[in-house]
């Protein structure tokens, strides 16, 4: 088992004909992901390495039963593309696009929440990898093998760093989920941790957070009340000064709110062990699962 993406994934990529969209779509396909279609308005009839391109999500769903969307279009078109995918009946939407305006994200989030059965992962995220099954996004799959550690993270490269530390100690992953670095992520730590808790393959959950917002604090409360599996945490940004956006739109300490210290403390007060470096995260995983 794994979560969110697997052999049943039927992927449709919005922005498949763009440079980045094509590159990563084909990477995903080579990995074994079932990429059934792409969407680029005005380019219906073309194909990308045999993957048919349509003008609308509606048609990609009608013709190929696409059940997962990946959004690769530029920020000004991304919110619209997410809404179109949801309207076409797709229930899992993975938005890679970085730089979507916050008010767009807020409207999309509110609409999808009202629909109730559509899950958005991202935006501004590296996607989801279930090793050995499917890769939807830009995670470099070569570093990860199948295993029992579920990883959920707000950052891309930091996930690879932590994943690599785990791999060097012999651990593989059930799934790796990037929830993204924006102020209004479609899925929260809680949403993904709940899935890992219910996934039989996952025996340990690693959550990698960073400064800004309060998603880690909320996750700490949730874990204490609802999660039976061990969780190891990591928080980036102890040295970040207040009021400065640290690369990710959502990574900002506002006044005394959203500091790394407060997040680590919130997790530790609920019994979640927090590594102070990526290496320590792997060390703690070894202690819990055995080396």
């Amino acid at each position: 088992m794994s979560i969110l993406v697997d052999k049943d994934t039927r992927l449709c990529v919005s922005g498949i004909t763009g440079r980045e969209g094509t590159f990563h779509t084909l990477n995903n396909k080579r990995y074994g992901t079932n990429v059934v279609a792409g969407v680029t308005p005005g380019k219906e009839g073309q194909d990308v390495d045999g993957i048919p391109v349509y003008n609308t999500f509606r048609k990609a769903v009608d013709e190929h039963g696409a059940n997962t969307a990946m959004i690769f279009v530029p920020p000004r078109f991304a919110a619209d593309s997410i809404l179109e995918a949801a309207d076409a009946g797709i229930k899992l939407i993975v938005a890679i696009t970085e730089g979507i305006p916050a008010h767009d994200e807020l409207r999309v989030y509110t609409h999808l929440k009202r629909l109730g059965d559509v899950r958005l992962v991202g935006p501004n995220c590296p996607g989801i990898l279930s090793p050995g099954k499917a890769n939807v996004g830009i995670i470099p799959a070569a570093f990860f093998k199948e295993g029992n550690v579920g990883v959920v993270s707000r950052s891309g490269t930091l996930t690879y760093q932590i994943g690599n530390e785990l791999a060097q100690r012999g651990f593989g992953n059930s799934s790796i989920v990037g929830i993204g670095g924006d102020p209004v992520p479609g899925s929260s730590f809680i949403d993904i941790i709940e899935l890992f808790e219910n996934d039989p393959q996952t025996e340990l959950i690693v959550m990698s957070g960073e400064i800004g917002g309060s998603a880690e604090e909320e996750a700490a409360e949730y874990i204490a009340a609802n999660v039976s599996k061990p969780v190891v945490g990591y928080i980036a940004g102890f040295t970040a000064p207040p009021g400065k956006t640290m690369g990710h739109a959502g990574a900002i300490v506002s006044g005394s709110q959203g500091t790394a210290a407060a997040k680590a403390e919130a997790l530790e007060s609920k019994g979640v062990r927090v590594g102070r470096t990526p290496t320590q995260v792997a060390d703690i995983a070894v202690e819990i699962l055995g080396g």
Partner: protein, 380 residues
């Protein structure tokens, strides 16, 4: 992006939020000209992005031209908590009967916009929230419904707004929300919102934070400047499209991906070092971007050593190595470098560096080792 008071007021005015008449001045003569045009008395206000301007002597009332000149001379060039005043806003003085507080803020935790109104304005709202939380009326706005008249009335009645000004305060709130949405702000705050002797209302101050990700839709906002807050390295990085934040230490940092760079800063700090900057070279960094980034890092004279921490995903380690080699050819750095390359094409990258045999470049196998090493060479 944080706006200065005058920029915020001009933005408010575009959306019909009432603000006192005023004008911009960068010199003493300009200040006097603006004041003459407005008529006396006027208020001379320092334009720097920091609280406590009034207490620091950065806001003064002038009854006539001589006073205006004297105040402008005193305030221009003044240092307010580390920021040098380079700009003034001159506005008509207001007859204040009461001071309220109003704001709309993008509430990440609630995933909605939070509206706040209080009759205890003119002071630090966080202090009010702590001492007397019931003095602040709050409600969340559904982004798909927008701010309705009943929202405004509810805020006014809950906050205890004087009955005779419920209408003008409600109208101001509606215009303020309109500005918040139309300009894609993360925060619009009016403190104080004043009730004048004639019972009209106005925004006497303006605090606005805009969403950087939305600036492409607002080219006129993207051009707004804040000369007192501009840092030469941050400016240089911005022009080159690099994500850079200046810090106060002496170890230059370059990495790929915001989370990994934040983590690198932390690991360096744990090793006893003090990072000079945050620099995310981004995913898929090409050699030219790396060379350009090295120039920005080294333009900070405090930098004594530089750490490269790369975990290649889309970014290829051989490209990073090539960029570093070119940087050494072009700028001949005088400080030591520590380089850690891992991930995509790491073998090729390390080989390129070994072959180039760059002076004073050390390699490290892990992030922790790299951090200890850079702290050591920075001290040497």
């Amino acid at each position: 992006m944080d706006l200065l008071e005058y920029q915020g007021k001009q933005l408010f005015a575009r959306h019909g939020v009432p603000v006192p008449r005023g004008g911009y001045a960068a010199t003493v003569d300009e200040a006097v000209d603006v004041a003459d045009g407005l008529g006396y008395p006027v208020v001379v206000k320092a334009q720097v992005q920091i609280g406590g301007r009034g207490k620091a002597g950065g806001i003064k009332i002038a009854q006539d031209r001589d006073e205006c000149r004297a105040h402008a001379e005193a305030i221009l060039g003044m240092d307010i908590r580390g920021l040098t005043v380079r700009e003034l806003w001159i506005e008509e003085a207001s007859d204040i009967a009461s001071e309220y507080y109003a704001s709309f803020v993008f509430d990440r935790a609630a995933k909605a916009t939070l509206a706040m109104l209080s009759t205890k304005g003119g002071m630090d709202i966080e202090a009010v929230a702590e001492e007397d939380p019931s003095a602040i009326a709050r409600l969340h706005i559904d982004p798909l419904l927008g701010f309705q008249d009943y929202h405004a009335r509810r805020l006014c009645f809950e906050a205890g707004v004087d009955a005779d000004v419920v209408r003008p305060v409600s109208a101001l709130l509606a215009k303020l929300y309109e500005a918040y949405v139309a300009e894609e702000a993360m925060l619009v705050e009016v403190n104080p919102l004043i009730i004048k002797q004639d019972r009209s209302v106005a925004a006497l101050d303006a605090k606005v934070t805009l969403d950087d990700n939305a600036l492409f839709r607002h080219p006129e906002n993207a051009e707004l400047r804040n000369p007192s807050a501009e840092d030469p390295q941050e400016q240089m990085a911005k022009e080159r499209g690099l994500t850079y934040v200046k810090l106060d230490g002496d170890i230059g940092i370059l990495g790929n991906g915001a989370g990994l760079v934040m983590s690198t800063l932390d690991v360096v700090a744990q090793a006893g070092g003090r990072p000079a900057n945050f620099l995310d070279a981004g995913g898929g960094s090409k050699a030219e971007a790396i060379t350009s980034a090295v120039e920005v890092i080294l333009s900070d004279p405090k930098v004594k050593a530089v750490l490269f921490n790369i975990f290649g995903g889309i970014t290829r380690c051989d490209e990073v190595a090539r960029g570093l080699i070119t940087a050494f050819e072009q700028i001949k750095p005088q400080v030591p470098f520590v380089v850690r390359l891992d991930g995509t094409n790491d073998q090729e990258g390390r080989q390129l560096l070994a072959d180039a045999n760059l002076p004073n470049v050390h390699t490290a196998a892990t992030m922790d080792e790299a951090a200890s090493k850079v702290v050591e060479v920075a001290r040497a």
